[in-house]
Symmetry: D2
Subunit: 146 residues, 4 copies
């Protein structure tokens, strides 16, 4: 019997914008939160769980927690690689880990975000159990048995 | 008989944020659009015509045109002065001019924005004549006779 | 005798980021300045006149003027097309025009920026005549005779 | 004998900007990193340890780690209170904690950042022991004995 995967990942690229760099000539640390979102949305478009997919099901998934660790700087002109990893959990949460690499394939930054489910597009109630669309999605991508 | 003013102005301050400066050590040019909005909203709160005031009347005022001229740079640590000037016009438009000064009172930047009136908070129709709340506001601030 | 072109253009794409949209659900007007820069730098990388190319020659080209006209909104999920057009001029200036289109190929926004040449990467002097590297570039791309 | 404080705090205000809010009508989560920097720099200007103070001593202090927990949203029009707390440590690090409150004095967000010391303004070496200017600063504010 094959064991189910606990993680699914997706890799995408981001080109550092001039406006994202600071007087030290490197990407301002807060912009990595943006890169995580770029990676997460690229993951979401690829795997059918993006912001717009969620919205269609009547949900928003606000971020309740984020962490970032910086190892190396990125500078203007760099094209970074974002590895976005969905971390499976039985909670009513979406957990993603991120790894960002520079063009020499050196680790630049790691991070994690945690999202919860709120119905009625942000005006509504926090869900304490996973909504059906999320359980269905997990089955579709092989994280849960059908 | 006293002639009506054609312009009303309001002055506010903005402190340059680190994130707003670029590798050249100066404020990235696009951030002046943000400073104009800071000035316009400070004007709006002072004179009762801010984004939230407009929203209460059921209107949004998207920007259809903006211009910026840069004379001098601002750098991190600077506290700039924004002069925001409402330019009266009979059209269904809000026109603002902006002058930004550094701490030596030298002109850093000038600009202009043009806004139109859309009802139903951005989902709705463009108004070709000034909405009542705007005409009433002009009377209140002395740009139109009661 | 063939007449020289007066304009060179380059077309690139930009995907609207969630963070770039506002409470009205559309791209905040100031972010178009960023899209213009995306287009200009994509042009620059393609034609060898990007920020990093200029820096190699010891120059920076700060923007002294920008204009934007908004025709239609862009919303989250849109992938816009940026047409960036270099407008030839004998002055010591770089002039670009921009046209941004949505996925239905409707015109969303037009704009223009004007840049000047400053040596020593922004610490230096304004050049009143075009620097050699710029004249050489114009020859290379066919805007000037060799 | 009086025990030394282990923490020093500073409180400042930030007004939510329109551009900082997203299609859900609330502050985009990544902007809290900016609010932390606002709080940290306000702390730094008050206590003489800001970015520009550090630069004068030849140091930059890049952020190597940050954490954010979101409890409640902020929306356009809110004026939030940022409590910035310097957490003393014997390591060659600057550690700050942050608490952000809304106008009803409800906790909106907490966070933490860790910075290290690099000489020659970002081009240089990581310091493994606290630089003199930092030790002197700790004495001045009462965190270390003279």
């Amino acid at each position: 019997m094959r064991s189910k995967p606990k993680e699914i990942e997706h890799t995408s690229k981001v080109r550092v914008r001039f406006v994202e760099t600071d007087p030290l000539g490197i990407v301002w640390h807060g912009n990595y939160i943006q890169y995580f979102e770029d990676g997460r949305e690229n993951f979401g478009r690829h795997h059918g769980i993006s912001y717009l997919d969620q919205k269609e099901y009547g949900f928003a998934t606000p971020i309740i927690e984020s962490k970032t660790k910086h190892k190396r700087p990125l500078k203007y002109g760099d094209v970074a690689t974002i590895k976005t990893i969905f971390v499976d959990s039985s909670a009513a949460k979406m957990i993603f880990r991120y790894e960002i690499y520079n063009q020499e394939n050196e680790l630049v930054c790691t991070g994690e975000t945690v999202q919860v489910f709120v119905d009625n597009i942000g005006q509504g109630e926090l869900w304490l159990t996973p909504p059906d669309f999320f359980t269905d999605w997990k089955k579709k991508v092989g994280l849960l048995d059908e």
